[in-house]
């Protein structure tokens, strides 16, 4: 056994030695501009990662076909963070030190985005976030981190407008999944509701993936709130609605906080229980932004499925990246950062301009919307000027349908 150990020991470290000295292959970066995009391509969040990746690629192809940037093509290097913040970090390491990207993009899950942003700031590589929404990511004063999408505290702005003008609920229950997205989102919603004078009867988190939400929903039914606000990913959202229907819970309004509630899969899985459910949404194809409807139609043509706000964020991010690289004086991190800071671009997602407000820095402010599932379609119902269908309020009791 001793001899075996020795051989192994030598073997291991010689392998290491040769592998690592030989390993680092110099990259040929003259012909393309490399941008690193970190998304969950496998794992639980893979569905969203896929929509975003497809959207990035769609936009990239259009940009490169039109000549690229300064005569060069942009190349997107996708890295899979598998939905875990530590893997996200490994992905950043690889993109920055091995692939020598000029900037980073992507960032889907809040924990992963937070982790990537910390590393990007430390390594002084510009990072354009397009989905990770926990507020604190842009509250750190990091000047290399920019966020295109609204923070989760702004998701419910349109919904709040609706509450103030139309619904005027008196009591509410907030249900959320125990993740960074859900936890921080619910805190913000609770604050906003209290500011509107709405009493929050119940605010409770759950481990996502639960089979049985009844214990939680029974408490909701007992409290009989006017409004039920839920922050969940798609499968939990479906189950919560189905079980609410079973328990015959009838508030005046069910509102989802985006994420799972706006996906076509939500309706597919929740069926009748999804009918009439509202949700905060960050984008609908009917918005008067140039290219928005074309993007929606082209995506459906190319991939056979419908896209939604995550895809729009990714498409817009690519538009911003191309614009930034065009304006940057050089591809050094500081010049790219400056170009990013000076962005003022209309995209399919809205006008992207990074400002600082409240505690946040480098945050773009885009309006949010209230949508509702009506007869199996996701319609925009508020604010009125961009509505595609009239809202249905109050909620029709389950038993009467």
């Amino acid at each position: 056994m001793g001899r075996g150990n020795r051989v192994v020991g030598w073997g291991v470290f010689f392998l290491l030695l040769t592998g690592l000295i030989w390993g680092p292959v110099p990259t040929n970066a003259q012909e393309v501009i490399k941008v690193g995009i970190i998304l969950p391509l496998t794992g639980e969040k893979a569905k969203f990662g896929e929509i975003e990746k497809n959207s990035f690629v769609m936009a990239l192809n259009e940009i490169n076909k039109a000549g690229g940037v300064k005569g060069k093509k942009i190349e997107l290097l996708f890295e899979d963070d598998t939905g875990k913040p530590d893997v996200a970090r490994s992905a950043v390491e690889k993109l920055v030190s091995k692939d020598n990207v000029v900037m980073l993009g992507g960032g889907y899950g809040s924990s992963e985005t937070y982790s990537i942003a910390g590393v990007a700031q430390q390594k002084k590589i510009p990072f354009l976030i397009n989905t990770g929404s926990a507020d604190k990511i842009t509250e750190q004063g990091w000047n290399f981190v920019f966020r295109l999408n609204p923070p989760v505290s702004e998701y419910s702005e349109a919904a709040e407008g609706f509450f103030k003008d139309i619904a005027k609920p008196k009591t509410a229950a907030i249900l959320f999944e125990n993740t960074l997205f859900g936890t921080s989102g619910s805190k913000e919603v609770e604050k906003s509701l209290k500011d509107l004078g709405i009493q929050v009867l119940l605010k409770e988190g759950y481990e996502h993936g639960a089979v049985d939400f009844k214990p939680l929903l029974i408490k909701v039914k007992n409290g009989n709130p006017d409004l039920v606000y839920m922050i969940s990913y798609v499968m939990d959202a479906s189950l919560i609605m189905r079980q609410s229907m079973e328990l015959d819970i009838n508030p005046k309004m069910f509102v989802g906080g985006g994420a799972g509630f706006t996906l076509p899969e939500f309706y597919q899985n929740a069926g009748k229980a999804a009918e009439g459910v509202f949700s905060a949404d960050l984008w609908v194809p009917s918005l008067p932004y140039p290219g928005a409807m074309e993007y929606f139609k082209n995506y459906k043509k190319a991939y056979g499925k419908e896209t939604e706000y995550h895809g729009a964020e990714a498409y817009a991010a690519m538009q911003v990246i191309a614009d930034v690289l065009k304006r940057a004086k050089s591809f050094s991190p500081e010049d790219v950062r400056q170009a990013l800071a000076g962005t003022d671009l209309m995209t399919v997602f809205g006008k992207i301009k990074f400002t600082s407000y409240g505690k946040m820095t480098n945050q773009s402010k885009v309006p949010t919307y209230l949508v509702q599932w009506i007869k199996g379609r996701l319609e925009c119902v508020w604010p009125k000027p961009v509505a595609t269908a009239p809202y249905i309020y109050p909620h029709k009791p389950w038993k009467g349908r």
Partner: protein, 291 residues
């Protein structure tokens, strides 16, 4: 008061399903002495099979029991034969090799399903998926209630099998004393394989019953394996009645915990019970029953 009753009802219904998952594992652990960390994954495979039956053949999940149970019986039979039984009695430093082998099997099963079906969440929507019936103000989830009844039916059938048939008695004999059983002429190997298959078939049934009310993705196995363990330990290894009691206890405890402590701690309830039983009631609830 209403909240309390509704909570208990919810707990009992899900407890019935848990019990079915637990019976499968307790049989395997009792007879083979194998700790099967791939238990939840077997259920997951059965759910995919049910899903395929539903989508391709239009077979109702309850009907597909006749497909999934035998299918998983055979799959597990061969897994047991080629991967697990060779390890019993093999000389190696760590006796727990077989547990770790099941970890490897679990990973392979999960990844194979992921490869075939992708990580996407799938679900089946039957006409009765969302139905509930009401007794007064208390709602009973229809599919869960059906699952509960079927679980009872399967358990009763199992009892007959174990008590009255020859193979059943051979299984019980092997569980009680392997060597004596061999001396009595029982083909111990065949019984071992058969038990593994039987345990898997029961778990497969639980999967088919669960699909209408939950959803499906490759990684779903893990939490259910843990629950199966809690139930097995709670009820006592090898005891079917114990598994039933254990399943119901876990279901009710989780339900109460979720309502009165918080939903976030629901899973912790199971873990705490697990630890407490392990430490203070070794041998489980079966101590208090006769079977």
């Amino acid at each position: 008061m209403l909240v309390f009753v509704q909570t208990i009802v919810a707990g009992i219904l899900i407890g019935g399903l848990y019990a079915l998952i637990g019976i499968g594992m307790t049989l395997i652990m009792g007879v083979m002495g194998i700790i099967n960390l791939a238990h939840g994954q077997i259920m997951m495979v059965s759910m995919y099979l049910t899903y395929v039956c539903f989508n391709t053949f239009g077979m109702d999940p309850y009907l597909s029991l006749v497909v999934t149970m035998p299918a998983l019986f055979f799959i597990s039979f061969y897994i047991g034969k080629y991967l697990l039984v060779p390890l019993i009695g093999r000389d190696s430093i760590l006796p727990e090799n077989q547990v770790l082998m099941t970890v490897g099997i679990a990973i392979c099963l999960t990844e194979t399903m992921r490869f075939i079906f992708t990580s996407n969440y799938q679900s089946v929507r039957t006409g009765y998926s969302n139905k509930a019936f009401y007794l007064g103000d208390i709602s009973f989830n229809f599919p869960l209630a059906v699952a509960f009844l079927i679980a009872i039916g399967i358990t009763v059938a199992l009892f007959f099998f174990l008590m009255k048939t020859d193979i059943g008695r051979a299984i019980r004999a092997t569980a009680q004393d392997k060597d004596a059983a061999v001396l009595m002429g029982i083909n111990q190997q065949r019984i071992t394989y058969a038990t593994y298959g039987l345990g898997a078939a029961l778990t497969a049934a639980a999967g088919s019953l669960l699909l209408p009310i939950y959803y499906l993705f490759p990684d779903l196995g893990g939490p259910f394996t843990l629950k199966a363990f809690v139930i097995t330990i709670l009820g006592g290894m090898g005891s079917t009645v114990g598994a039933i009691l254990g399943g119901l206890t876990l279901g009710i405890a989780e339900s109460l915990g979720a309502t009165y402590i918080s939903m976030g701690y629901k899973d912790a309830v199971g873990m705490v019970i697990f630890l407490l039983v392990l430490i203070f009631i070794p041998g489980g609830l079966k101590r208090f029953t006769k079977i």
